[in-house]
């Protein structure tokens, strides 16, 4: 941005205040230089840093390629060809273009903060973009070849920029180095927040959910006070506070409890009396195999709790199973029936004929899957149903 400068004599701009120039001698009447104009001193052009702008006059979409070409003083067609090649080679070009669109000011805006409506559109665009990425990611295969391997880099860079903008409340000044610096800082904040998020999730799942909730309340209060007392410092607290609050909420919603330890555990009780009434695992795979237990006729209540992971109950074909399953996120398969999603409550109440053992299962899985079947190596199409029930 060119600042307004006071109108001064060009001669004075070239002089040092501490060493004023010698005053030229007063020309006398016989001085031959009397009527000659004073020669202009050699001036050095004022070096303004080059700015990266989106071009308004020569644009196809948003003027990003043309702006970059102007910055490097090359033909815009070269940049456009490279951008298209990047899209088809890796997909990173899409994210780079959107990031540049978000960050590069329009030609003539001077790189200062954008006006309100423009910023609103920018943020709305970012939100729509993130939603689009979230929706698109799970459903696409490798139709870009190896292109998707570049996409996470683009997503990380974009997320870093978004974090930086929310945290600082500013936008880079249009200089390429400032943008790279913003990306670096944003990604660093993001990495720190990811660690914070895992820590908060683990603390909440390990029984410290009350403490984490108290921390979130305290962070909210600190932000409210900080908004008045120290707005700049308060702003940098927002993203870390969200990084603690959101995973803790997810843990609470999934009802995850990792107090039961982690890893793979398989229980194969050899007698009916050896069957426990409660099996618990924090994270991992829990298998309860009752095929060798020779269950006695009557009801056998079993409670299964898995925080994150998979639980399997394997029963012999002569045992009836009645189940009540709660899942935060995941799927449940009871013999040939399956369902899944979020907040899953699956009830399959069955009754056994006289003289037949019945297992009454109460399963709680935070995030993961629960399966009841007769053979762990059998696919669901081949598995027998709950045939022992009445």
């Amino acid at each position: 941005m060119v600042r307004d400068r006071p109108a001064v004599d060009p001669l004075l701009t070239m002089t040092d205040d501490t060493n004023p120039p010698e005053k030229p001698p007063e020309p006398g009447p016989e001085d031959p230089t009397r009527e000659q104009p004073v020669p202009e001193p050699p001036t050095t052009p004022h070096e303004e840093p080059r700015r990266l702008y989106r071009s308004r006059s020569d644009k196809v979409i948003a003027g990003v390629c043309s702006g970059i070409a102007n910055y490097f003083r090359i033909d815009p067609v070269i940049v456009r060809v490279l951008a298209v090649a990047l899209i088809f080679l890796g997909g990173a070009g899409v994210f780079a273009y959107i990031a540049a669109w978000l960050l590069m000011p329009n030609e003539g805006e001077g790189g200062g903060p954008a006006e309100g409506p423009s910023r609103a559109l920018t943020v709305a665009g970012a939100i729509v973009l993130i939603i689009a990425i979230a929706i698109a990611f799970p459903f696409h295969g490798n139709w870009w070849g190896g292109g998707w391997s570049f996409v996470p880099l683009g997503v990380i860079a974009l997320a870093g920029l978004l974090v930086w903008r929310v945290a600082s409340g500013e936008r880079p000044q249009g200089d390429a180095r400032a943008i790279v610096r913003a990306i670096g800082l944003g990604v660093a904040i993001l990495a720190g927040c990811i660690l914070l998020a895992f820590g908060a999730a683990w603390a909440a799942a390990a029984g410290g959910n009350g403490v984490v909730a108290g921390f979130v309340v305290a962070a909210g209060l600190a932000l409210i006070v900080g908004a008045f007392v120290s707005p700049r410092a308060a702003r940098w607290m927002i993203v870390p506070a969200l990084a603690v609050a959101l995973p803790a909420g997810a843990v609470a919603a999934a009802n995850i409890d990792v107090k039961g330890g982690y890893g793979d555990r398989t229980y194969r009780p050899a007698t009916s009396a050896a069957v426990r009434d409660h099996y618990r695992l924090g994270a991992g795979k829990l298998v309860v195999d009752l095929r060798a237990a020779h269950l006695t006729p009557g009801d056998h209540a079993i409670k299964l709790d898995v925080g994150v992971g998979e639980a399997q109950l394997v029963v012999p074909p002569n045992v009836c199973v009645s189940s009540d399953t709660h899942l935060g996120i995941g799927g449940v398969q009871v013999f040939k029936r399956d369902t899944g999603g979020v907040d899953v409550d699956h009830q399959d109440e069955r009754f056994a004929p006289p003289g037949t053992p019945r297992v009454v299962v109460d399963a709680n899985i935070g995030i993961g899957a629960f399966t009841i079947h007769h053979r762990p190596d059998q696919g669901w199409r081949r598995t027998l149903g709950n045939l022992a029930c009445a």
């Binding site: 903060p113 910023r119 970012a126 009350g210 909730a213 979130v216 409210i224 308060a234 969200l242 996120i329």
Partner: protein
């Protein structure tokens, strides 16, 4: 007299986190049972209002 400006984004984020933390606290104390059906919109509101506030307020 110079009046200190209030950062609206921090203020809105603070109020949102206060409400969110209150819900988490209520769940931790077993006063309510938080499910994803309630958590998902709550989390979206929290993130959405922060992003909107960050986008609509201008920093001078």
């Amino acid at each position: 007299m110079r009046v200190k400006r209030v950062d609206l984004t921090a203020l809105i984020a603070g109020v949102g986190l206060l409400v969110f933390g209150g819900v988490l606290l209520a769940d931790a104390l077993s006063a309510i049972h938080l499910t994803f059906a309630a958590y998902a919109p709550l989390a979206c509101f929290l993130v959405g209002d922060v992003l909107l506030a960050a986008g609509l307020t201008r920093r001078d």
